[in-house]
Every structure is written in C-alpha cells, then in structure tokens.
Amino acid sequence: MDPEGQRKAQQRADRIVAFRAELDELEREQGLTLTADQRSHLQTHHERVLATLSRQFGAEIDESARRVSWGMRVATLLGGVAFFAALVLFLHRIWGVMPTWSQTTVLVAVPLLLLAVAEYTFHRQTASYYTALLALAAGVAFVMGLTFLAGTFNAAPSAHALLGWAAVGLLLAYAYGRRLLLAAGLVLICAYTASLWVTAGGGYWASFPAQAGGLIPAAVVGYALPGLRPHRDPHGFDFVYRFCGATVALLALLILSKRGDLCCSALPASLRETVYQGVGMLGSVAVMFHGLRLGRGGLVNLGAGAFVVFLFVRLHAWWWDWMPKYLFFLLLGLIAVALLLVFRRTRTRLAERARP
C-alpha cells in the first residue's frame, strides 16, 4: 500500500473528525446552525468518504480504531523484536556445530529473505507499517550479518562496510518511502566520508569521530541537496536531509571545539575553542532562521537546542573556573529564561507563517 496515499488518507480522516467536533461546538455556541437537510447530506457524505478511506487506505476513522491500531503496532514491534532476538539467540546456540558454509549461507540469506518478505507485503498492499518494519529488519540484519561474516573469517574492520550499509539504507528508504532508513543512510554516508578523510591523512579510519572535521563536508552537502533543484517531495525526505545534515555538522563543530584540530592549529587552544563554538552558534542560528523560512519546526528546534548547548559550553569555559558556582548557575538560569522569551517569540512567528 502506497505510504503517501495512506498518509494523505489519514490526514483527511483526521480533518473530518476534527470538523465534526468543531461543528458540534459551533452549534452549541450558536455560531453556525445547519438545516436538517444540510446536516443529513453532510453526514451521509462524510460517512461515505470515511468508509472509502478506511476500506481502500486503512485509515483510522475514530479514536478507538486509532488506539487499537497503536496497540497492534506496539504488539507487532515487540513481536518482531522478540522473533529477531529468538533467531539471534538460536543461531548463537547452534553456531558452534554448524559448518562454515552453512554459517555463511545463514548470514547472507537472512537479510535477503527479510527483504523479499518486505517486498511481498508491499505488493500485497498490506499496511505500510509492516512493510517498514520488515525493511528496517532487513537493514539491521544486513549490518549484523556482514559484521558477523567478517568476524567469522577474522577480517580486519573496513570503512567500506559503512558504504555498503549506507547504500542499502538509502535504496530501501527510496523504495519504500521510509524516513528512518534515509536518516540512517545519510549518517552512514557522513561517517564513510569522514573515515576516508582520516585514511587519506594516514590515520586509522575508525578514529574518525575524534577528527570530526571530516563529517562536515558531507553534512553540508546533505543539508544543501534539497535546495539544489526543484522537485516533488512526497515522503518528506527534504526535512530528513536537512535535519541529519544540520545535526551531524553541529555535532562535529561541538567535538572540534573541544579538540580543535581541524585547522587554526597556530592559534592557542582556548582561542580555537572559542572560534569553533562561535561558528557553531552562528550555524545554529542559521539553521533556526532557515527552519523559520521553510516553516519547519523541527529545524527551528534543532537550531535552538544546538545554540543553547554551544552557549552553555562557552559560558562554562569563560566562567566556571573563577565564578562562584551558585552565581554561575543563577546566570545560566537567567539566560535560559531570556532564551525562552526569544523562542516564544520565534514560535509565534512560526505559527503566523503556517497560517494560509
């Protein structure tokens, strides 16, 4: 079942339910009164639409149906995790008696099998949630399988595994319209490019988190990609690109502000810290304003949260050593209140922008 169609059908069903509740309220307040014919016609029309949405798209048309659906999803998730754990523990139990060829077959076949089942459920037009869960399970099984296969042959860890995992995550994300898989793929791509950066400098690839500067180029490209050309975005992927890009870049700047080894090594360590934290704060503000411009509350929240973190880290570096601790925390509290006022005003602007 097409996830985009399901999402839009659910949005329509939610609007109808909300409309009905508001109409009842308006009639009680005598703000609007429909004639009996109008009410009957409207009722019939809405019932027909809701029945169609429920039948063809599986939309939940009332609160009780929604609760049951959530219960089914939780049960499915827990059941899926339990089955997965049972399979892993069973394989652990029998692994030692299995010949190498059968171990290899299991590790290669399980992710492919899960992918095949995900494709089958998609083709049968079952609820997109189950397809998403199976696609995610296929991705996780591939990561685990490749790791265990390398361990079976005592292979040295390789950065190219990150590329394989990222490729599968991105391909499955676009195949099934799943944002979580896209986010995982984008983060892995950033990690892979950072590991290449470290390797090119003669370092050990797995130490790329320590030289976080290598994460920034891919993160910036990921953030900029949605804006490079006009296109349709039925699954909301643009937001994922921007959110992941901004998160990785800001996190890299935070790490750099403590290590400071990307550049400016001629500067004293304290000045390097200040430079990176200043860049981080500016970047956070830029993300906030870009989020406001796009009407994306998630980006605004990310920028705001990152700004607060960078600010508090900088204040800690400036004040902690010499300021009385009670005064330090008092000032932090006052700054937090000031930031709340600023964010409140920002939220108002965001709400105004969202109105048609």
Partner: protein, 290 residues
C-alpha cells in the same frame, strides 16, 4: 488513486494537501504502486547485500591463499579461552601478547617505540615533549594503522627476568607501515608473526607507579593488534567448549599448564585463521618453543 486527476474537489486549493477525492462517484482504486521505479531500487539493495558479502568471502579466500604473515602453534597462554556466555556456542579465543620491557612492573611500555620509530610510523614528533604545547599536540594526533611483529618464544621472551611459565610467550617486538620490509627484517615465519595493528601516541607526564611528575615528560605509545580475537571454526569448537566454563579463571591465575595448542596462520592480508587445534598432554609439559 491520483488526487491530481480530480480537479473539482475543494481540497485542491493552494497549500492544502492533496488527498483522495470525496465524491462517491469519484472514488477510485488506490494509487497504483510505481512498479517501474521501486522494484529496481529493491533489486539494487539486494545486489549491494550480495556483493558486500561476496567481497568479504573473496577477501578471506585471498588471505588464506598464502600464509605470508607467518604460522605458529600457540598454546592456551597465547590464546585465552573466554568464559562461556549463556548458551552461546560461538567461540573466539583472545589473543594475548605482551610488551618486552626492561622493567615491566614499573614501566610496562614499549622500549622500541622511540621518537624515531614514532616518526617512521607517521606521527608528527617535531614538538619537543618539554614544551607547553606538547600536551595538546600529541593528544590531538590520531592513531595510525601499522603492521606489528609478534615474536613467539624468542629472544625477547627469554630475556624476561621473571616468567612463571604461564605468561604469554608472544611479544610485540616491532612495527612498521610496510609488511614486506618487516618480513625481510624478520624472515623466520615460524617465529615472527606479522599482523595488523594500530598505534596511538601520547605524552607521559607522570610515573606509572607512584604518579609523581616525570621529568622530563616523554613520548609513549599504545599498541593494539587487530583482530584481538580469533574465531574458532566448528570442527575445533567441540574440543575447546568442553573446557569452557561460565566464570573461567585465566591460565596465569590458575597456575595450571596449558591444555591445548592451536596452529594459527596469518595470510596475505595479515589476517589470522586457525588451521588446527589439539589437546596437550596433561603431564605438565607443553610444546617446546621452536
């Protein structure tokens, strides 16, 4: 069902999301899945999975084509049996090796990891350890991948002042960026193993024993062998699992003689594999060092 094919519905106003049409006569079938676009993506994902796994298998095959890294028979001293974890029959032996230090109790560091060796391995040692900026300089340097030379029961082990007979006889005696040069320097592949590793550099400013300031500070290295555990294939698992207990005691702590020996080879990619495992006689003797 394509919402854009029903322009008469009120929900096609600007900035309002499209959705399935409302009128009963306009209700159609669910929007068809885009078969031509989605299926190639799924097939590509499956292909990536297959190719990735195939790559690992081919690399393993190439590694085992020739034991360039050396072949030695190691005992329980060097291949520690870990405690059993639950019902798991997965078995990985811990590779235990040591450092040839003139005074291992007081200074367990590598005597051969000098400033010249650090420079040879690719570290930037231009800043003198006594300068104020030395701490940040050496703390910011990333670990470097190297090839490590492990000597089995050789001169370095014999030179140890104290050996109760239960400590590992595998000692790290050298490292370099080029494995072929190392093999030329240590040609005996039955005594010297060349394997992969990682070296980290740091500035030692205090004595390890009592924490007093070290004057002058000096450069120190940490070495890690990769992988640090060796997978035991199934034909040999059964022998070793008989000795595996939940809360196992290390050989060194127990004071017993090693119970098994394993023939381990390091191949063309300097990755190890176990070629055979045998039980050692329980008389207290262990295979003589070559």
């Amino acid at each position: 069902m394509n919402p854009s094919s029903h322009p008469g519905t009120p929900l096609h106003a600007e900035r309002r999301p499209t959705c399935p049409p409302a009128a009963a006569s306009a209700v159609g079938t669910p929007r068809p899945t885009n078969f031509l676009r989605r299926r190639p993506l799924v097939l590509a994902a499956a292909a990536v999975m297959l190719v990735s796994n195939l790559w690992v298998l081919i690399s393993a095959q190439r590694n085992r084509a020739e034991a360039v890294g050396g072949t030695v028979e190691l005992t329980e001293r060097e291949l520690e049996l870990p405690p059993r974890f639950g019902d798991s029959t997965v078995l990985l032996l811990n590779l235990r090796w040591d450092v040839p230090s003139a005074n291992p109790e007081e200074d367990p560091t590598f005597d051969w990891l000098t400033e010249a060796k650090f420079t040879e391995l690719g570290f930037d040692c231009q800043i003198a350890p006594t300068l104020p900026e030395a701490r940040d300089h050496y703390a910011s340097q990333l670990p470097v991948p190297v090839y490590v030379v492990l000597e089995y029961a050789g001169a370095a082990w014999k030179a140890r002042r104290d050996d109760s007979g239960h400590k590992t006889r595998l000692l790290a005696v050298d490292a370099g960026r080029d494995p072929h040069s190392l093999r030329q320097k240590y040609p005996d592949a039955t005594r010297y193993v060349i394997c992969r590793g990682v070296v980290r550099i740091s500035l030692q400013e205090r004595n390890y024993r009592d924490g007093t300031p070290l004057v002058p500070p000096r450069l120190r290295g940490r070495l890690e062998v990769i992988p640090s555990q060796i997978f035991v294939p199934s034909p040999y698992c059964r022998l070793l699992q008989g000795w595996q207990v939940r809360d196992g005691e290390a050989l060194e702590e127990s004071g017993r003689e090693p119970r098994y020996a394993a023939k381990v080879s390091w191949g063309a990619r300097y990755e190890p594999w176990i070629q055979g495992v045998r039980e050692l006689p329980a008389t207290g003797t262990s295979p003589k060092a070559p």
